[in-house]
């Protein structure tokens, strides 16, 4: 079987031959590196879908190399919206910075009485392995490179609803700019997550919390008809709205 891999030095797809058989892509990459081409560069770790190191794009879709079964004709490329360091290896520094900007941690911890249903509330969200698949699949980055993005917002949500959080307001405040309202709710992140996490739903939930904490959708505020006008002069609309 043959597969194509995008090489950074030539910026072109290079064809590699593999023995027939159903193997994980990571085994194929390792086989190529060990026996054919030691210059092929990729990142890998645990082989068991839990360390978050080996995400790439296969035929335009994000996959963990260690769990994706390689097929003839597959085209392998690095994650999007990450600077490519070499071949399939990318620089994740900027993506990781979104966690810092989202302040996704317990702000003011307190002891709480947690139950099985509290555990279930964030069980999926805390399965996140920071593989950056969702970041790569998010179309918002094409227009806004400063977007906090799916995994940071999912993590912000996870802490904001934790019963041990005494004051979630700082988290909610910190995800307003380039945050929850910039998401288009397209669901690409949810579609590619190898752990079955649904960042789109988490972002929707965070929007509700934002409103509860006194924030509002900024696009709505600028495009709306201003504050309600119950009588008095004027025509009941703001002539500056939308400008």
């Amino acid at each position: 079987m043959q597969i194509k891999i995008l090489r950074s030095k030539t910026n072109s797809h290079q064809l590699y031959s593999l023995p027939a058989g159903e193997i994980p892509l990571l085994n194929a990459l390792t086989y190529i590196k060990e026996t054919q081409d030691a210059t092929l560069t990729f990142s890998a770790g645990c082989r068991a879908s839990v360390c978050g190191t080996c995400a790439v794009r296969v035929n335009g879709r994000e996959e963990l190399s260690c769990s994706y079964k390689v097929k003839p004709g597959d085209i392998i490329e690095p994650l999007q919206y990450h600077p490519v360091l070499r071949d399939l290896k990318v620089d994740k520094d900027k993506a990781k910075k979104t966690l810092l900007n989202a302040t996704s941690w317990l702000q003011e911890p307190k002891e709480a009485s947690l139950t099985h249903s509290d555990e279930k509330l964030t069980e999926k969200q805390t399965d996140c392995i920071l593989c950056d698949s969702c970041y790569s699949a998010c179309p918002v980055y094409a227009v806004n490179p400063d977007f906090l993005g799916p995994f940071a917002l999912t993590r912000a949500y996870r802490y904001s609803v934790d019963k041990r959080e005494n004051d979630a307001k700082p988290i909610i405040d910190n995800i307003q700019n380039n945050g929850v309202w910039d998401c288009t709710l397209c669901g690409e992140c949810t579609a590619v997550c190898p752990k079955g996490i649904d960042p789109k739903m988490d972002i929707t939930m965070l929007r509700s919390s934002s409103i509860q904490f006194g924030h509002s959708d900024p696009s709505f505020a600028t495009q709306s008809f201003g504050t309600p006008d119950f009588g008095g002069g004027g025509f009941g609309f703001d002539p500056n709205a939308g400008f």
Binding site: P24, K33, E34, T35, A38, T39, T41, F42, S43, A44, G45, C46, R47, A48, S49, V50, C51, G52, T53, S67, L85, R86, K89, D91, K92, D93, K96, L99, L100, T103, S104, W105, L106, P109, E111, A112, S113, L114, T115, H116, D118, E119, T122, E123, T126, D127, C128, I129, L130, R155, R158, Y159, D162, R164, E165
Partner: protein, 534 residues
């Protein structure tokens, strides 16, 4: 100059960073990957603490179980400290926000944490977060490190410790992205670099990078290592991929059966005994399986969601309906850097070691499931504090650049070396040698063969090298440096195994099937000064 330089960014390193910083230290964490990529993410089953949330339990029982499993090779004071600190360790993690699995018991805080049975434990003692315990602890630690503004240097590969007159002064690293050697000066150095089970390449549950980089660096720098022969084999890894299926699968009621469908061992015995029982079946040409079908799909998805997925991907079986083919593979290294009561490396002052890379003598000849996560957190905090205390009175005069220049020259030589032979096949055969001859059941004749083969490989190593000559982001180079560390450690494991003419815990030798009281001691290895100066 940095007070505490932490090398390794897994659970032990991150915990130590938080405690050193809390104590007042300036801290830098350097790792060869990103923090959340570490081996800690792979720990599944749980973290032990005698909380007694599910039935009666006592710290004294935890201590007794740990000592029993260690087969006389632990330091009972260290065990007492670790087990005694366990409840407050869980409280600390609870306070950071670790999303543990819960009971419905109307209690508060750590008293609501669910606990499960693990092998060799006399109570339901392992606190867990489904079968993602390590992952969820690791990520919560990382989030907390961001909160506390811990500084990180990712993608820096440890080359050597800088030691002058027996005192650590810092370390040298290869900046993987730029391909340059750098020196980091520090008053204290804390190693949290992980174990060396990846020597068993192809026959280990570990990630590729568990090559004992820190253990090898300590040996080169004149420090001591001990108990290197004690390698834990996990009874249940997937047969074809060596991917781990957590002990909790048996803790929750899974059976081990042979191909005639017969159970052949008490599944909840300690790992060494279960691994040997499986090995004996395999020797009799029986295939061995883990059977969890009777638990039912709903319970499996609730308790072991990760395992079910991994079985489907890597073994093409649905555990709710089919048997899971398994074999025992190398999982954890009990031995490592020899440390004292304060976790300071014997032979290198100011250098501390914690986690799987160190031998704090709490696991002895056989580690209990759930005690490794406990060790990295409980002792990670202790090591961080001790490293800070050392830094207060340490000299702030930096070392000269001798080590850095020496390392730069060596790296440059690898780039200019021509006609090198490919080391990858050797990495594979090192794994084969170790699994075949330094495995679950050992024999002196085979161990001696293995030693000869490894020494020949060390001689051939001079002709091995890298074929990728790209300066930056050179993974071929990192793979080679890791392989060199593995190969450097190989004879220490085999020679200690040869010297131990007895069977104790994970070390089992044909012809010497019993414990020998005269050998109830640690085998400590240290390179002579002349050798380290070469």
């Amino acid at each position: 100059m940095i007070d505490v330089l932490i090398i390794g960014s897994g659970g032990a390193g991150l915990t130590a960073a938080l405690s050193a910083k809390e104590a007042g230290a300036s801290v830098l964490v350097v790792g060869k990957t990103y923090p959340t990529n570490s081996q800690t993410s792979m720990a599944q089953g749980g973290i032990n603490a005698a909380l007694g949330n599910v039935g009666e339990d006592h710290v004294s029982s935890h201590i007794a179980d740990t000592i029993k499993s260690a087969h006389g090779l632990c330091n009972e004071d260290m065990v007492r400290q670790m087990c005694g600190d366990a409840p407050k360790t869980i409280e600390w993690l609870e306070n950071l926000g670790v999303p543990f699995s819960r009971l419905d018991n109307d209690e508060q805080g750590k008293d609501t944490v669910a606990q499960r049975q693990m092998g060799g434990a006399s109570a339901k003692r392992a606190c867990y977060a489904q079968d993602y315990t390590g992952l969820k602890i690791l990520h919560t630690l990382y989030d907390t490190c961001l909160k506390e503004n811990i500084d990180f240097k990712d993608e820096h590969y440890l080359l050597n410790l800088i030691v002058k007159d027996g005192i650590v002064k810092g370390a040298t690293f290869l900046n993987i992205r730029r391909g340059e050697v750098i020196q980091i000066d520090a008053k204290s150095v804390l190693l949290a670099t992980g174990g060396y089970a990846s020597l068993y390449h192809g026959f280990t549950t570990n990630a590729y990078g568990s090559t004992g980089d820190g253990v090898a660096a300590v040996l080169r720098a004149g420090g001591a290592v001990s108990d290197m022969e004690f390698i834990q084999f996990h009874p249940t890894a997937l047969k074809h991929s060596s991917i781990l299926i957590s002990e909790s699968a048996r803790g929750e009621g899974g059976y081990l059966v042979n191909e005639s469908g017969k159970r052949f061992v008490d599944e909840l015995k300690p790992r060494d005994e279960v691994a040997r029982a499986i090995f004996a079946q395999i020797k009799e040409e029986q295939r061995v399986f883990l059977d969890v079908r009777h638990l039912g799909e709903e319970k499996l998805m609730e308790l072991l969601p990760q395992e079910i997925e991994l079985c489907k991907i890597h073994e093409h079986v649905d555990p709710a309906k089919e048997l899971i083919p398994i074999k025992p593979v190398a999982h954890y290294t009990m031995g490592g850097i020899d440390v004292d009561y304060a976790l300071e490396v014997n032979g290198i002052k100011g250098c501390f070691a914690v986690g799987e890379c160190s031998n704090a003598k709490v696991h002895g000849a056989n580690r209990l499931g759930g005690n490794s996560l406990l060790e990295i957190i409980a002792f990670g905090r202790f090591a961080g504090e001790n490293a800070y205390k050392h830094s207060i009175y340490a000299s702030s005069k930096p070392a000269d650049s001798t080590q850095k220049e020496k390392d730069s020259t060596e790296i440059k030589a690898l780039f200019s070396q021509e006609d090198t032979s490919n080391f990858y096949p050797y990495r594979e055969s090192l794994g084969d040698i170790f699994y075949g001859k330094v495995g679950i059941v050992r024999e002196n004749a085979q161990l001696n063969e293995a030693l000869d083969e490894v020494i020949s490989m060390q001689i051939v190593q001079k002709e091995m090298g890298i074929s990728d000559k790209n300066q930056t982001n050179n993974q071929n180079l990192i793979d080679f440096l890791e392989f060199k560390n593995a190969l450097l450690l190989a004879p220490t494991i085999i020679s200690a195994a040869i010297a131990r003419d007895e069977s104790r815990g994970a070390h089992y030798k044909v012809g010497f099937e019993n414990e020998n009281d005269a050998l109830k001691k640690h085998i400590v290895l240290q390179w002579k000064k002349e050798e380290t100066c070469k």
